[in-house]
Amino acid sequence: MINEHLPALQVVVPLLAAPICFMIFNNRLSWLFATLVSWLSFAMAILLVMEVRDGTVLHYEFGGWAPPWGIEYKVDILNSYVLLIVTAIAAAVFPYSWKSIQKEIPKSHHRIYLTAMLLCLAGLLGMTITGDAFNLFVLLEISSLSSYTLISLGRDRRALTASFQYLIMGTIGATFILIGIGLLYALTGTLNMADLASRIPALEGSRTLQAAFAFLILGFGLKLAMFPLHLWLPNAYAYAPSAVSAFIGATATKVAIYALLRFLYTIFGSSFSFDYMQVQWLLMPLAIASILFASMVAIFQDGIKRLLAYSSVAQIGYILLGISLVNVTGLTASLLHMFNHALMKGGLFLALGAIAYRVGSTQVKSIAGIGQAMPYTMAAFVVGALSLIGVPLTVGFISKWYLILATLEKGYWPLTVLIIISSLMAVVYTWRIIETAYFQERPAGAAPVTEAPMSLLIPTWIVIFANLYFGINSSLSTDLASRAAIILSGGSLL
């Protein structure tokens, strides 16, 4: 009975929990409630993955209105896979939040933080699960508005300007998406994704359809921080509270990439997107530029959060590169990297939050010599960094391996070289942090540091452990990613 309503509950539970969370007048109870909701969402995502893993597609008609009139939620392998990523990170970040926000957010704002986090979670999950193009826009705005609020909660006053800048850029992106969806509606008279997909092939060659395509690509490009539309991202991640950086850094861009894939493959169809519009020749140079440029900039950053943010832009470049190769291996690599990058960046930002909790700053120079004082936190950071570089036995290796296979399959060996060079650049920028933490002396007169509290360490290590687990036994993630890639490219699982 409950199972039948899972697709709706996945979104409705965090959405309804958000105002309830605000009405609970005790900060600690409110946090316990929010944590419980995040675990419940994770459990629901696991149940959904188990139900659709063999290729079945779940349909849920809201209010019993049959599509295309009513709003339909539709769960397939790709959806459920993204739901799993988002809820898994949420389930780690919520328990972590309590200690972390004690130092970073004033007490009076704790419930605002929790409410905004739940709204952001609901928006991201809704964007992933919905089968209706306009509904996607609305949920995108719910998640975006709550993330602007979350970023503005940062301690530094620059969080305010970062949030404002993100708001402007994000709203332009969302408005472009709205224009694109409007043009599609004008052409086809429907907003249901499956319905759109069945009507678009007959319209190939229509100028309006091309304009809609361009608006949608640009809009999602802004939301997912595609180079050179990434300018909002470094400041937003750098000045947000640590727990927010971990959550948004690991999930928000992934969901935008999912939405892009949904439009490219399911709605427009691969023959329109890649054969007719040739979008891969737009994505590929931008992906290459973002990998090289962002890795280069990351090397010269003084703030660790900013450094990780630029590295995120580079990692998004890998994901776009995989998409632009237009083969099943490339798509699998992209999907895998969505999962793996969420784990590595989530883990790194969580470890960094633990450092910020004790040291009070996330500048590279301020962590000098903390390797001995905070052994478990720094060890977690090192494992996360290794995963970011792509060392074997970590998840980073798995997705880079698939990406390299995909470039070789296409015969684009210069891209293979590019991936290896950029991995070396990742060695350079992560080494600076590790070197400072382990091999430099703690400056004279600096306050002594102790190990981070357990409530920060445990969630961090769970995510870091997942980096190792899925790096050694990658059957779950590769299986889901390759099945989703086959279905997206129009193949069948048999």
Binding site: V138, Y148, S152, T161, S163, F164, I168, T171, I172, I179
Partner: protein
């Protein structure tokens, strides 16, 4: 004559470009928000234009009328207007807090203040 008949779309494009220009060219945060609003409003007009059916009346069932305008885009745009209002109010709230902590709402001045703070921070 085609061009004149589609005058509402010309209005949409003009407003869109005017808002977008204001958004990019202005350094004043409030003006940026106004630009953003004009930009969003142009899209609302685009949707509302889409819903108009030639010769159709308001979509209310009545005797003797059988051509109605399409109400769906109008309903959609009601949602988008709500989204626009939330975005504007959030942006204004941010501007108030920026004004409180920087004592200015000019983007160049804010960048300058941040730059000076950075230099003092690194020399100290």
């Amino acid at each position: 004559m085609m061009t004149l008949e589609l005058y509402n779309y010309w209005v949409v494009i003009f407003l869109m470009m005017a808002g977008f220009y204001m958004l990019i060219a202005s350094n004043h945060l409030i003006r940026k928000i106004i630009g953003l609003n004009i930009f969003q409003t142009s899209v609302f007009m685009l949707y509302i234009s889409l819903g108009k059916v030639a010769g159709g009346t308001a979509p209310i069932a009545a005797e003797g009328i059988d051509t109605y305008s399409n109400p769906l885009p109008h309903v959609l745009i009601l949602t988008a207007i709500v989204v626009g209002i939330s975005t504007t109010s959030l942006a204004l709230a941010l501007v108030i807090r920026i004004k409180e902590s920087y004592d200015t709402v000019n983007e160049d001045e804010i960048l300058e203040i941040d730059r000076i703070a950075d230099e003092e921070g690194s020399s100290a």
